[in-house]
Symmetry: C2
Subunit: 220 residues, 2 copies
């Protein structure tokens, strides 16, 4: 039993390590967009393989723990949630790569006007990612709820950015291509925020159990 608990601790530790890599990838991808920083962009591309590798290892560890013995209801919930969080983190890593690809295109296009709200949207999204992982580590229900509340603010920022970019593209045909790239940056950030929201929901499920999801029924 002690062995099993140690393995659960190891799983948590690895998820946090992966979370750190993903947070850093998102941060760098936005620096690459806003400051046209090619080094940061390359760093994200370089770290992608490591994130993908970690996802496979974490998935295998969680699956092995599921197989190892019949886990108690609480551990079972933890393991299924760990598999989901792992998947969310890996997708966030992919989204950071998508943002970097847009950043690399933007570096070859004239800067016409900075997309003012993208850094603000990025800051809020990064804070959601960080809080959702903190909520997971500390089983902190309040923090998880704070993440869910931020999701609407991210959607509002995105809507504002879209409208601003459409105006921008309508002004001149030169601005269509950079406008499209910035639009996809905002779209990818919004999806990162959605994954942070998924993690926060999973934390609520983990801590509060069946009450959160009305139709969950863990008893046979």
């Amino acid at each position: 039993m002690k062995h099993f608990l140690e393995e659960l601790g190891d799983l948590k530790q690895r998820l946090l390590e992966m979370g750190g890599l993903v947070e850093s990838a998102i941060y760098r991808s936005i620096v690459a967009v806003v400051e046209k920083d090619a080094d940061q962009a390359q760093q994200v591309l370089k770290n992608e393989a490591r994130i993908n590798q970690m996802e496979i290892e974490i998935d295998d560890l969680a699956t092995r723990l599921l197989a190892l013995q019949q886990p108690m209801a609480t551990d079972l919930r933890f393991l299924t949630v760990a598999i989901k969080i792992n998947n969310d983190l890996e997708r966030m890593g992919d989204l950071a790569v998508n943002i970097v690809e847009r950043a690399l295109s933007l570096m070859q296009e004239p800067v016409i006007r900075p997309a003012i709200d993208i850094p603000q949207m990025a800051k809020l999204t990064e804070s959601m990612v960080h809080k959702s992982l903190d909520a997971f580590v500390r089983s902190d229900v309040e923090l998880a709820r704070a993440v869910l509340l931020s999701d609407d603010a991210v959607d509002d920022l995105r809507d504002g950015i879209y409208e601003e970019l459409i105006d921008f593209m309508q002004e001149s045909s030169d601005q269509v291509r950079p406008g499209v790239n910035l639009m996809f940056v905002a779209r990818n950030l919004e999806r990162v925020a959605d994954h942070a929201t998924n993690i926060a929901e999973d934390v609520l499920f983990l801590v509060q159990g069946v009450e959160v999801r009305h139709h969950a029924n863990l008893k046979p």
Copy 2:
């Protein structure tokens, strides 16, 4: 043991039922875009709640079966794959809703030129979804591999559509807003194809076991 096998059969049946709903949502969403058909759009929005409800029920059933007894390695793989396929299907349902939202915007904008390759991209994507589910039901490795091969063709179609739409938006400022909407339709279709690819990869993992994923290790 018979009871457990019956439950596994039930789980498979429900996943297929959900797959049918999702396939129909994707099909209708594209009809809504291409034919500006508001009835089909409404139908997709109406069915969304049912797809979300099915996801929760399937997730609960799979989690309950994991808890019920210590499953054999094969059943364990089946259950973890079922949870992933369920998640992919639910996301495809969300993507169909995203496409419908774009369709509803497009209905209020002048049709300037049809986006010729979107129906073709949709047809290929729908066929990937159908084949990936067929591959799952029949444990058909060849069919799963065919899905993986189609993913590149979908990406090529998307690239062509993006370039065509950028030209289109550069031609006139009236075309920016419908161009953006059609771009997001293509982007959502691409993501549907990515989820079908995930399902095909899961089928390969399910049928071929550890060989597909080099780092998998199901033995304790």
